[in-house]
């Protein structure tokens, strides 16, 4: 199948290095301490953060840092053909783990010992790149909850089809069987916190694809900084100071 036309256009009319339209909205769930909606094209996720609060299960309490927990769930109607999945299948457990580890890397957990932070992400629509969208939504929700972080983690994916590196794959491109590189970065500190790839790629090509994904992450970071209210940036800068 042809994923890039001779004119250099993709199936949905984008250029290879073009992202889908992104949109973020902060404060979607009023009962949560922090929440955000993040859309990348047709992919739409909601993240809600509860905490820092008392640890619910005393056995899990950590005396030197906060306990970060994450649960990823997909709505029944989020995918094209309606499939009723049991809660906690392997895929969602894996994504929960990925999100938790990525967020743990940027939260200043040592400032909140003996407490718990819960991150819940709910996928409303899945059209490729849910992993990245969830991480971006979780970052915004954590920032909305006023949780101290090193930086605002952002994530984006890139792939390689028809000998062309493609940014921000949609569902059709994702299921084409080519490689899918998901990258999460701390844009200000310029560090990679998440890196995943399936399928195989020559090393030189991999470098190009990863560089493209990092560019995507930076574009997301730019957008997040534009939309997030001034107080986020203030909080972000204060937490940066505490690291240095």
């Amino acid at each position: 199948m042809e994923f890039v036309s001779p004119e250099g256009l993709r199936l949905d009319g984008r250029r290879p290095m073009e992202m889908r339209q992104i949109r973020a909205e902060i404060g979607a769930v009023s009962s949560a301490d922090g929440s955000a909606v993040f859309e990348m094209g047709n992919t739409k996720v909601i993240a809600a953060v509860y905490g820092p609060r008392e640890v619910q299960n005393r056995g899990q309490q950590l005396n030197d840092q906060a306990l970060v927990r994450c649960e990823y769930s997909m709505a029944n109607f989020s995918v094209g053909d309606r499939a009723r999945r049991p809660k906690g299948d392997r895929r969602s457990i894996e994504i929960s783990l990925v999100i938790r580890q990525t967020m743990e890397a940027c939260i200043l957990t040592h400032l909140m010992p003996r407490s718990q932070i819960d991150i819940f992400v709910q996928v409303l629509q899945a059209d490729g790149g849910t992993r990245s969208a969830c991480i971006n939504a979780a970052t915004l929700a954590l920032a909305d909850a006023g949780i101290p972080m090193r930086d605002l983690v952002t994530s984006c994916s890139a792939g390689y089809l028809n000998s062309t590196p493609l940014l921000d794959l949609n569902y059709v491109e994702d299921s084409a069987g080519g490689p899918d590189v998901t990258v999460g970065i701390l844009p200000k500190l310029d560090k990679v916190t998440l890196l995943q790839m399936d399928a195989k790629l020559p090393k030189e090509t991999f470098e190009d694809v990863m560089e493209l994904a990092i560019q995507g992450c930076k574009a997301v970071a730019q957008y997040i900084r534009e939309v997030s209210p001034q107080n986020f940036i203030f909080l972000a800068s204060v937490s940066q100071l505490s690291v240095i």
């Binding site: 979607a28 769930v29 009023s30 009962s31 949560a32 929440s35 047709n42 909601i46 993240a47 809600a48 509860y50 619910q56 649960e71 769930s73 709505a75 029944n76 109607f77 989020s78 995918v79 094209g80 309606r82 009723r84 809660k87 906690g88 819960d118 819940f120 992400v121 709910q122 409303l124 629509q125």
Partner: protein
């Protein structure tokens, strides 16, 4: 879980007794309702309803299926509800399952009528394509995104709005020469049929706190309830379904009273929902 101090409880009780609730409403006043339709493009119909801080999404998917042996002239509808952990941390893992099932069964009772499908808000025979062979299966999925009381009413309203937004593709069936042949189905992706949603009832839940009952309770008020009665009423004022929840017993005369009040409130609610739905449809087509 709602943690309330003794003082807060007294405040809620006293306010309800004096017909002035914590948020300034009277006992039979609703919170502002906002409706957005077509929020899930992949579904045949969808709507998002916000009542105060309660936020729910309903989506409707139609799939071709086979009618059941006992009712060859009717389609099938199933309702599922999911309580997202974003609404409350207690819904994490399997924590929301009990409430989800309670809500789904209550919705089924209120909207789908009896086992035979008689008295259903949605005409099941309109879902039939070829009698005994092909019908539409409607899957109604509710998702609770944010919860601040009165979930059942909100889900009922969301389903009503989603149904009015639903387009079922027109189907051309090519019956084979012999009756045993598998018929050939041709689903049109241009022509859509709209549902007749005028018969879909609305759900009004009356929550009894102390000696009085209120509509559209917040989660703080719900935590103080002794029992609640959910009435589903259609446009003609007919009662389509009833559910009583909560542990405390109720005097039969009080139940009658609650039902008649519910019926009265439902008239206003139908008017509000109708205007909100048509406003949402109008803004969606722009």
């Amino acid at each position: 879980m709602v943690g309330l101090s003794t003082g807060e409880k007294h405040f809620i009780w006293g306010g309800i007794a004096q017909d002035l609730r914590s948020d300034g409403r009277q006992r039979l006043h609703y919170r502002p309702i906002s409706i957005e339709t077509g929020v899930i493009p992949q579904a045949n119909g969808s709507a998002r309803v916000r009542i105060g801080a309660t936020d729910v999404i309903a989506s409707i998917k139609a799939e071709l299926g086979k009618p059941s042996m006992h009712q060859p002239g009717k389609g099938k509808i199933s309702i599922f509800v999911d309580c997202s952990p974003t609404a409350a941390p207690m819904f994490e893992g399997r924590g929301g399952e009990e409430l989800s099932t309670e809500l789904a069964v209550a919705l089924q009772r209120c909207l789908l009528g009896g086992k035979s499908g008689a008295g259903a808000g949605i005409d099941l025979s309109s879902l039939i394509v070829t009698e005994g062979k092909i019908c539409w299966d409607l899957y109604i999925d509710g998702l609770v995104v944010s919860s601040d009381g009165n979930l059942l009413d909100a889900l009922g309203a969301a389903i009503k709005a989603a149904l009015s937004n639903t387009g079922i593709p027109k189907v051309n069936v090519d019956l084979g020469p012999s009756p045993d042949d598998q018929p050939e189905v041709n689903v049109s992706d241009e022509e859509f049929l709209q549902f007749d949603t005028s018969g879909v009832p609305v759900i009004v839940t009356l929550t009894k706190v102390g000696r009085h009952y209120i509509v559209n309770a917040t989660s703080e008020e719900e935590s103080q309830m002794s029992s609640a009665v959910s009435v589903s009423v259609n446009r003609h004022g007919h009662i389509c379904g009833l559910t009583k929840r909560g542990g405390a017993g109720l005097d039969p005369s009080v139940i009658m009273d609650m039902i008649s009040v519910g019926k009265h409130v439902s008239e206003q609610l139908i008017t509000v929902l109708d205007s909100e739905i048509s406003a949402a449809e109008a803004s969606a087509t722009d």
